[in-house]
């Protein structure tokens, strides 16, 4: 069972290997090159959630 200590490794793995994984998939070929995988990983593990909570707190 992965824990919080594993998330840094997982993030690194997304950055290094996700695009290669997508390149092998027939239905991702039309769009995978357009994916900014570094930004995607940053947002997945922090940015998206941070911005959502920031907006929530600023709207209270």
């Amino acid at each position: 069972m992965p824990g919080v200590k594993d998330m840094e490794r997982l993030k690194r793995y997304v950055k290094t290997d996700f695009k290669g994984y997508l390149s092998q998939l027939e239905d991702a070929r039309a769009w995978y090159r357009d994916l900014d995988v570094n930004q995607f990983a940053e947002d997945l593990f922090f940015g998206n959630g941070y911005r959502f909570v920031k907006a929530f707190m600023e709207g209270r």
Binding site: M1, E8, V14, L35, Q39, F56, M57
Partner: protein, 461 residues
């Protein structure tokens, strides 16, 4: 690295201890390894998101802290799990406390949520920093764990009863009065789950517990109830996001339709919906019966054993192909697109069970490895089964080796032990790809799902 998660329980285990503090830890050496119990239970019991583990992210941590009071039936089922702790550590899962919860002698809101859980966070301000708007203006403090709150199940607001049925309900006024008490104290509550694992009078839940006797957790309702709509509207009125996790598929659909003005009830000024710690089924609901390997009425529920799709349409090789968990507690394609279109957020759980990863050496708790195909067992209430108008003519149409994971293939995957971690990661990649692909198919430009709407969720306790 900075770390974010919508839904975490960093001190849940400490809250069930008879002694100690929020910094106590359950380590691997305190959990028995029983040869007859090759399950995830020891891994789940030991600490996975302890404050000391969060310290490895010195650039800043922002967490949704779950305020959760254990339900009565779940407390009863947890008591036997103490056997997995070594005798010297069993005080860390207090049997007297669990028994009081079963009997409602320990009240969900006053005793557990406020005086036990929330107080622990407020009293440890050297470790936990409750965020304010100024936090975001000045930058996240890096020397403490920055937190906001989410509430897992409206039963957590109720002292008067600890189970529904036989005339008992979770009273709407009591839920809202107690919620308002927290808000009046300035407690930032981002999201609330209407329900959790046990039957609620607000809405039906999705079956979601595999480690115990399933019967007490069977869903028996039918989508959203009038009290559930009242709570949802009250959350919107207070600027709080409902969390879809743990709601049954029909409850989720009812709520989305009410927000879109397409249901029997129309909700106003809706907040975007969250689903804070979920996986995906990998298909739209209309295709769900095609992967059902078994459908059988069992008392108050319909037992459905779902074969696991290989998503072979996009796979050049089915060897070691990852799959999804196709239980209805996970999100269907149309729900992913709906949440993204409406500005909501999905916390993609990294919990291997939610992602559909199966270890053939785990105990076969629900018969998923008994037959030709690996299956996920689900229980749907009879009322919802009728209400969903499931097209039974599609039953088993794609349950074959070309489309679904066979037990034989699963065991072949495991012959090379070095592939285990890679296979787990491939489950995550499959989910990430499916999320992006589903949004694109729904006509949502890639930029939006790439840079909004999805967040990793460790889902650990």
């Amino acid at each position: 690295m900075q770390y974010f998660d919508f839904h975490t329980h960093p001190i849940l285990k400490q809250l069930f201890s008879e002694t100690g503090s929020v910094t106590d830890m359950l380590g691997r050496n305190e959990v028995k390894v029983l040869q007859s119990q090759c399950t995830d239970i020891p891994n789940i019991i030991q600490s996975q998101i302890h404050p000391s583990q969060l310290a490895q992210y010195p650039e800043g941590v922002l967490l949704g802290i779950v305020l959760y009071s254990m339900e009565s039936y779940l407390a009863a089922e947890v008591i036997p799990l103490r056997q997995h702790l070594r005798p010297g550590s069993q005080h860390k899962l207090s049997e007297p406390l669990l028994k009081k919860i079963v009997l409602n002698d320990y009240k969900a809101y006053t005793d557990f949520l406020v005086n036990r859980t929330l107080k622990a966070y407020l009293d440890n301000s050297d470790i936990f920093h409750i965020v304010t708007p100024e936090t975001f203006a000045n930058g996240l403090p890096a020397n403490r764990i920055n937190i906001f709150f989410v509430v897992e199940g409206c039963h957590s607001f109720v002292d008067s009863v600890n189970r529904t049925g036989e005339g008992k309900v979770f009273p709407v006024p009591e839920i809202l009065d107690n919620l308002d008490r927290l808000l009046a104290q300035g407690i930032p509550i981002l999201a609330i789950n209407l329900t959790h694992m046990q039957q609620s009078s607000l809405c039906n839940h999705a079956f979601g517990i595999q480690l115990t006797n399933p019967a007490p957790f069977f869903p028996k309702g039918n989508g959203m109830e009038p009290d559930g709509y009242d709570i949802a509207q009250a959350l919107f009125d207070r600027g709080i996001h409902p969390d879809l996790k743990h709601m049954s598929y029909k409850s989720r659909r009812d709520l989305m339709r009410a927000i879109d003005g397409q249901g029997d009830i129309t909700l106003h000024s809706a907040m975007p919906l969250l689903c804070t710690h979920a996986g995906f089924t990998g298909i739209p609901f209309s295709e769900w019966p095609e992967y059902a390997a078994l459908i059988r009425a069992e008392g108050p529920v319909v037992r459905v054993e779902m074969a696991k799709t290989l998503s072979v349409d996009s796979m050049p090789s089915a060897i070691c192909a990852p799959t999804f968990n196709m239980s209805t507690i996970n999100l269907f394609d149309e729900e992913i697109a709906w949440i993204v279109r409406h500005g909501g957020m999905i916390g993609l759980s990294m919990d291997r069970r939610i992602l559909g990863y199966v270890d053939p050496y785990d105990a076969d708790v629900d018969g998923r490895l008994d037959g030709e195909f690996v299956v996920d067992t689900d229980f749907i209430s009879l009322a919802e089964w009728d209400g969903l108008d499931i097209d039974i003519s599609k039953y088993r149409q794609k349950v074959d080796a070309a489309h679904c994971l066979t037990v034989q293939r699963l065991r072949q995957n495991w012959e090379d032990q070095s592939q285990q971690e890679r296979w787990y990661y491939d489950h995550i990649f499959l989910h990430l790809k499916h999320y992006l692909q589903t949004c694109l198919r729904a006509g949502i430009p890639l930029k939006r799902p790439q840079s909004t709407s999805l967040s990793a969720a460790t889902s650990t306790v």
